[in-house]
C-alpha cells in the first residue's frame, strides 16, 4: 500500500510542479499582439489578479482590446489570485524592458520591494481598480479606480428621490471588511442620514452572493413583512437573490418594494428590463482607455494626479432596455 501512496504523492507533486512551470512559460507565449509600427510601438506589461468574476473578465478584455486598437504591444499575465505570481510577473516585465506597467494589485500591502525595483528601472506603474499601501507615493504614477463611496451616494440620492424622502430601507451588505462594502455603506448612509423620515430598519451581510442575499431577504420579509419599502444591495448578485425572495413572498419586486444595487452586470440589466430591479449604479470595469491615456501622458513627460476617478453611471429602468445590448459584461 505504501508504494501506492508514494506513487500517488509523486504524481500529485509532479502535477503541481508541471503546473507551475507552465504558468511561467505562459507569459512570453501570450504575447500575440502584432507590432504595428516598428520602432515606435509602446510595450506595456499588465499584471491582472485573475478571472474570478465577470467584472474582472470584462476589465481584462477592455485592457487587451484597447491595446490592440492603439497598437500597443501588451504583455499580459494572469496571477490566479496570488501576489507572488504578480511579483514574478512584474520582475519579468523589468527584464523585458517594458515602457510602462499596469497593475491590478490583489492585496494592498507587500509591494514596496518590487515597486522599488521597477522605479530603479525607470518604468512608470499605473494601478487599476485597487490601491496599494506604500510609504513612498512616488512608487506609482497614478491609480485609476471607481469611487465606491460615490457609488453609495449615487444609490442613496436616487432612492431618496424615488421614495420622496420617506420610507423603510433594508440593506444587504457585502462581505464584512471588504473595501467596496465599507465604502458603499458609508456613501449611502451619508445621504440617507440627511432624511429624517428615511430609516434603515435592517442590515445584514449577504457576502456578495445570490444565495445569501436571498436567504437574508427571506428572513427580513418574515420579520418586517409589508413594512419594507426599499432594498439597498451592495452588489447586483445580492439584489438578484432578494428579488427572488420578494417574488416568493407574493410581492412584486420593483413595484411593492423598490430595489437599488451597484455594479451594473448583465443580469441586473435583464432584471431591470423585466421591471424587477429599479436601478443599478455601474461600477465601470472598462478601464482600458483611461489606462492607456495615462500611459501616453506619462511617456510624454506629464505628471498625473495620484488618483484618477473613473466616472460611474447610474442606470434605471427607463434606459435599461436601450443599453442592454451594448453591455459587455
Amino acid at each position: 500500500m505504501r508504494k501506492y501512496v508514494a506513487l500517488i504523492s509523486f504524481l500529485v507533486a509532479g502535477l503541481f510542479l508541471w503546473g507551475c512551470g507552465e504558468s511561467q512559460d505562459q507569459q512570453p507565449a501570450t504575447d500575440n499582439t502584432p507590432k504595428f509600427e516598428e520602432g515606435k510601438t509602446i510595450m506595456v506589461g499588465f499584471s491582472q489578479i485573475g478571472a474570478e468574476s465577470s467584472w474582472r473578465t470584462a476589465e481584462t478584455k477592455s485592457i487587451q482590446e484597447e491595446a490592440k486598437k492603439r497598437g500597443v504591444n501588451l504583455k499580459f499575465s494572469d496571477a490566479q489570485q496570488k501576489q507572488e505570481n504578480q511579483i514574478k510577473a512584474l520582475r519579468s516585465f523589468i527584464t523585458q524592458k517594458v515602457d510602462a506597467i499596469i497593475l491590478a494589485p490583489v492585496v494592498e500591502t507587500g509591494w514596496e520591494p518590487v515597486l522599488q525595483e521597477i522605479k530603479q528601472a525607470k518604468i512608470p506603474v499605473i494601478l487599476v481598480d485597487r490601491g496599494v499601501k506604500v510609504e513612498d507615493e512616488s512608487l506609482y504614477a497614478t491609480l485609476i479606480a471607481s469611487d465606491f463611496v460615490e457609488e453609495g451616494r449615487m444609490a442613496g440620492k436616487w432612492l431618496a428621490e424615488k421614495l420622496g424622502g420617506k420610507g423603510n430601507i433594508v440593506e444587504l451588505k457585502g462581505t464584512p471588511g471588504a473595501a467596496p462594502a465599507i465604502d458603499r455603506e458609508k456613501g449611502f448612509h451619508e445621504i440617507i442620514d440627511k432624511y429624517p423620515n428615511m430609516k434603515i430598519i435592517k442590515s445584514q451581510t449577504g457576502d456578495f452572493t445570490r444565495s445569501k442575499g436571498k436567504e437574508v431577504m427571506e428572513a427580513f420579509l418574515k420579520a418586517e413583512d409589508k413594512n419594507i419599502d426599499a432594498v439597498y444591495a451592495h452588489n447586483d448578485d445580492m439584489a438578484l437573490g432578494a428579488i427572488q425572495a420578494i417574488e416568493e413572498a407574493g410581492m412584486k419586486p420593483g413595484t411593492d418594494i423598490i430595489i437599488v444595487s451597484i455594479d451594473g452586470v448583465k443580469d441586473a440589466f435583464v432584471a431591470m428590463t423585466e421591471g424587477k430591479l429599479n436601478c443599478s449604479v455601474e461600477c465601470n470595469p472598462l478601464l482600458g482607455p483611461a489606462a492607456y491615456d495615462a500611459v501616453e501622458k506619462i511617456l510624454k513627460g506629464e505628471t498625473l494626479p495620484k488618483k484618477t476617478i473613473v466616472k460611474d453611471q447610474l442606470f434605471d429602468q427607463s434606459v435599461a432596455a436601450r443599453v442592454i445590448d451594448s453591455r459587455q459584461y
Binding site: 500517488i8 474570478e52 468574476s53 465577470s54 445570490r210 444565495s211 418574515k222 427572488q244
Partner: protein, 345 residues
C-alpha cells in the same frame, strides 16, 4: 430501569439535540416577533419555520451522506466542492447549448437528462474519494481534501468563473416549488432519509457500516468487505452532495461556482456531531444529523430575523453552538449537577 423507557426508545444521544432545538424555539417563541407566525400565501405555507426547513434541506442531505462516512471512521471534506460541480453541470447543460458532452452527442438539453448527468458526476467524484480512501488506504481527511481544493477549481473551469443563470421551470421547481403547501426540497429530504434509514436500519448494510467504523480488524476477520463498504459509502456521500448542489443552484436559478456550498462541509460535520454521531466512527444517528442540520439553520435564521448586527453574527452563532455542545457533554452536565448539590447542602 423503569419499564416504560423501553417503549419510547429515543437513544440518549438524540435527546440533547432535540432539547437544544426546543430551547431555541422557545426562546424565539418568547422573544422574536412573528417567528411562529405561519400563513398561507398563494397556496404556500409562509413563515420563518418553513424557511428553516427549506434552507436546511441541502445541509440535511449532505449531513446524511456525511453521517455514514463518519460512521465508517472517515470524513468527507469534498462535499462543498462536489455541490459546486454538480450545480454548475446541471445549470450549464440547461442554459448553455454548447456546454460539453451534450452537443458532442447531439442530445437535447432536457431536464431529466441533465439531472441524471449531474447526479452521476456527484457519484463519480464521491467514488474517486472512495477509491483513494479504501483501496489506496490514504487517510480520509487527506484524500477528500484534494477534491475539496481541486473540485471548486473544476467547477470554476466549467463555468469560466461566471455565474450561469438558468431559465427552466422544472429546474426552478426543484429549488422553489411547493407541494401540498410545503417546499419541494423538504420532500426530497424525506425521501432521502427514508431510503437511507431503510437501507441502514432494516438491512445488514447498517451493521457493516457501523462495524467497519468501530473495529475494522474484527470486521475484516468476520468476513465484511470493508473496502467495498467504504467505497460505496463515499459514493453515496457524493450522491447526497450532488443532489444538494442541484437544490442550491435551483434555489437561485443560477450556478455560482465560486460560492455554492462554500464551507458547507464544516456545517455538515457539525450537524453530524451535534446529532450524536461520534467522529471516531461506529454508531451513527441519521435522524440526529437531520436535527443537527435544522438546529444550525435555526440559529442562522434566528440571527437574521432578529437583526443581530453584522459584526456580532459569527460570535453569536459560535456562542450558541458552544452552549449546545456543552449541553451535550455528559462531563459538563455532571459538573453542573455536582455544583448544585454542593450549594444545596
Amino acid at each position: 430501569m423503569k419499564p416504560f423507557r423501553r417503549k419510547i426508545r429515543i437513544p440518549e444521544q438524540l435527546i440533547w439535540p432535540i432539547a437544544a432545538l426546543f430551547i431555541l424555539l422557545i426562546f424565539n417563541f418568547l422573544f422574536t416577533e412573528n417567528f411562529f407566525h405561519i400563513e398561507i400565501r398563494n397556496g404556500k405555507l409562509f413563515g420563518s419555520l418553513i424557511d428553516i426547513l427549506d434552507r436546511a434541506s441541502p445541509l440535511m442531505l449532505v449531513a446524511l451522506g456525511m453521517t455514514l462516512v463518519i460512521a465508517t471512521g472517515g470524513i468527507d471534506l469534498s462535499v462543498g466542492a462536489v455541490m459546486a460541480i454538480t450545480g454548475t453541470i446541471i445549470a450549464g447543460l440547461l442554459a448553455m447549448p454548447d456546454f460539453s458532452i451534450l452537443s458532442w452527442f447531439n442530445l437535447p438539453a432536457s431536464f431529466s437528462l441533465a439531472l441524471c448527468i449531474a447526479l452521476a458526476t456527484g457519484i463519480i467524484f464521491g467514488a474517486c474519494n472512495g477509491i483513494l480512501v479504501s483501496f489506496f488506504n490514504i487517510q480520509a481527511i487527506v484524500a477528500t481534501l484534494i477534491l475539496m481544493v481541486a473540485g471548486r477549481g473544476i467547477a470554476q473551469l466549467l463555468s469560466n468563473g461566471q455565474i450561469i443563470t438558468v431559465q427552466n421551470d422544472t429546474f426552478s421547481f426543484w429549488g422553489n416549488g411547493y407541494f401540498l403547501g410545503f417546499p419541494f426540497t423538504v420532500f426530497i429530504v424525506i425521501i432521502g432519509f427514508a431510503v437511507c434509514w431503510i437501507l441502514i436500519r432494516k438491512t445488514a448494510l447498517g451493521l457493516f457500516v457501523e462495524a467497519s467504523g468501530s473495529n475494522p480488524v474484527a470486521s475484516h476477520y468476520s468476513g465484511i468487505n470493508i473496502r467495498m463498504v467504504k467505497f460505496m459509502i463515499y459514493g453515496f456521500s457524493g450522491f447526497c452532495a450532488g443532489l444538494a448542489g442541484i437544490l442550491v443552484a435551483a434555489d437561485i436559478k443560477a450556478a455560482d461556482a465560486n460560492n455554492a456550498g462554500l464551507y458547507l462541509e464544516l456545517d455538515a460535520i457539525l450537524a453530524t456531531v451535534l446529532g450524536g454521531t461520534a467522529l471516531k466512527g461506529g454508531r451513527c444517528f441519521l435522524a440526529g444529523s437531520l436535527i443537527g442540520a435544522v438546529l444550525i439553520q435555526s440559529v442562522t435564521t434566528t440571527i437574521l430575523t432578529r437583526g443581530v448586527p453584522v459584526e456580532y453574527t459569527l460570535v453569536v452563532k459560535a456562542l450558541v453552538i458552544v452552549m449546545i455542545c456543552l449541553l451535550q457533554s455528559a462531563e459538563f452536565r455532571r459538573m453542573i449537577i455536582n455544583r448544585f448539590r454542593k450549594t444545596g447542602k
